[in-house]
């Protein structure tokens, strides 16, 4: 139960992020002539993550203590993060993301003449609307969030990527691959549920703070120092890194590339180039990809 709120909040933020990996089916490449790309970024400023309180004993007193601890942590984090946010007032995450997607994702052959659109509303209802309105063969929906970790010692950038079919042929392919949980043939089902995705993955970037700090305020001050140079650099690299990982994942065969089948993979390593620098990328055995920024 203690994780209920954390899961609820994260699902709202990351549009039901899931560790399940659905590799891009290579045979789909020749069947998709064009795709629209939707970039969903709900937040207006960097998020300070909160570690939900653990069990504080039973009964109503325990519950009240738990909520109080959460409120106290939220208040402390929101107060401490202000210097970082103040330094990021002119940071435009959406602009950086759109630039990276235009450079690295839009040239992929099956995107074709598709368009790129930004959505600040990150809900399944909004995504369903956009999928329904699209006249392209498929819609790639990227939901991105960026934050400071609960101890403020890491800048994090997350991306949940889903490719949804928008032709009968591709919907049939999706159903054949994932018939055990696909709801793609149900008229009243959520169209952009991850169960109906032809491709799905979660990509994470993390950059640790390069100085020793003892508390949230110290960490925030370090990120915000010199007009926020550290946090700006980390976010710029993180945005590029997740899009580079996505482009790599969409175009690379890996040991998990067996759509529709449960395959236990082994950890794989790749490299992506971000701002002229090589960055190590690790694919977990479940398929998710992550990169850690260097100091």
């Amino acid at each position: 139960m203690k994780n209920y709120f954390a899961i609820l909040s994260l699902s709202l933020l990351y549009a039901c992020a899931s560790p399940i990996y659905k590799p891009f089916p290579i045979e789909a490449g020749s069947k998709i002539k064009n795709s629209d790309v939707v970039l969903g970024v709900a937040q207006k400023e960097i998020i300070g993550e909160i570690l939900p309180a653990g069990p504080a004993g039973g009964g109503i007193l325990g519950a009240i203590i738990e909520v109080s601890i959460n409120a106290s942590r939220a208040t402390a984090a929101e107060a401490a993060i202000v210097p970082v946010r103040d330094q990021l007032l002119n940071f435009n995450a959406e602009e950086h993301l759109q630039g990276a997607v235009k450079r690295l994702v839009m040239p992929i052959s099956w995107v074709g003449n598709g368009s790129l659109a930004l959505s600040k509303i990150v809900t399944v209802a909004e995504y369903d609307k956009r999928l329904t309105a699209s006249e392209k063969n498929a819609v790639l929906i990227l939901t991105v969030a960026y934050s400071l970790s609960p101890d403020f010692k890491n800048v994090k950038v997350y991306c949940t990527a889903n490719l949804f079919p928008n032709t009968d042929e591709l919907r049939k392919m999706q159903f054949d691959l994932y018939r055990s949980n696909s709801t793609i043939n149900q008229a009243d089902a959520i169209k952009t549920s991850m169960f109906n995705a032809l491709y799905h993955n979660t990509l994470t970037y993390s950059k640790p703070l390069d100085v020793t700090v003892t508390d949230l305020n110290g960490a925030a001050a370090a990120w915000a120092a010199n007009n926020g140079s550290k946090v700006n650099a980390a976010l710029n690299e993180g945005v590029e890194a997740i899009v580079a990982m996505l482009a790599l994942d969409l175009q690379t065969q890996n040991n998990l590339s067996a759509p529709g089948k449960k395959v236990e993979g082994k950890v794989e390593s790749y490299q992506v180039t971000v701002a002229g620098q090589s960055l190590d990328v690790v694919r977990s055995e479940k398929g998710t990809m992550s990169a850690t920024g260097k100091n």
């Binding site: 139960m1 207006k44 300070g48 909160i50 309180a53 738990e66």
Partner: protein, 212 residues
């Protein structure tokens, strides 16, 4: 067996189910009403004060940034400028006098006011809404408002610029309209207090330099 803890912690989940038929929109009020404590802390108007501030307010958010959600609900404001104006012009009982202007002709209005009133302390204050949002944080919520304040003289020369931020973090009971409005009210209250202090300081500073 259901323990009291589970019942308490499950309350928001039940609310989620019950509010399935509730409106998917949260409407924000269009008028700011200062709280009783705000009235009490205000300094009485000093008649004959010479610091006149021609204030204009505009929404400088991008169209994408105006769209805002709280959980699965859309947060909508029919007239955010009216709400901010009613807040800013509730400051008029402080150490300066605010004069309302439209953003497009604020500098001209400042210049005209200076000429007609022969006042050396006539300032133009351009207030811009930069950010306004509410987010869930585990069992809490945070409402934030960020505004930029630019002060210039009657000739349009910049005197100072600052950002003011108001933030309210409180328990998120059910993500409802009332508590959302209350959180934004509290955030705006902080913003107004900071604007009040900033303008008062600038007026004092100008008055001091004029008497030298």
């Amino acid at each position: 067996m259901l323990t009291m803890k589970k019942i308490i912690l499950g309350f928001p989940a039940v609310c989620l189910l019950l509010t399935g038929c509730a409106p998917a929109h949260i409407n924000l009020v269009s008028r700011y009403t200062p709280s009783a404590t705000e009235f009490e802390r205000k300094i009485p108007v000093e008649r004959g004060q010479t610091c006149k501030v021609v204030a204009s307010i505009e929404d400088a958010r991008t169209p994408e940034d105006v769209a805002s959600g709280f959980g699965w609900k859309q947060v909508e404001s029919k007239d955010v400028i009216a709400w901010l104006q009613s807040g800013v012009f509730s400051l008029e009982s402080s150490q300066y006098q605010l004069v309302r202007a439209e953003p497009a002709n604020a500098v001209a209005a400042t210049s005209a006011l200076m000429q007609t009133q022969q006042s050396q302390q006539t300032l133009n204050m351009s207030i811009k809404l930069r950010k306004m949002y509410i987010v869930s944080l585990t069992t809490s919520k945070n409402a934030t408002i960020v505004m930029s304040v630019d002060l210039s003289n009657a000739q349009g020369l910049s005197i100072g610029q600052t950002y003011v931020r108001g933030t309210d973090t409180s328990v998120n009971w059910a993500g409802g309209e009332g508590e959302t409005n209350s959180a934004f009210h509290s955030s705006l209250e902080q913003v107004l207090s900071k604007i009040d202090q900033y303008v008062a300081d600038q007026c004092k500073s100008i008055a001091a330099s004029n008497t030298l």
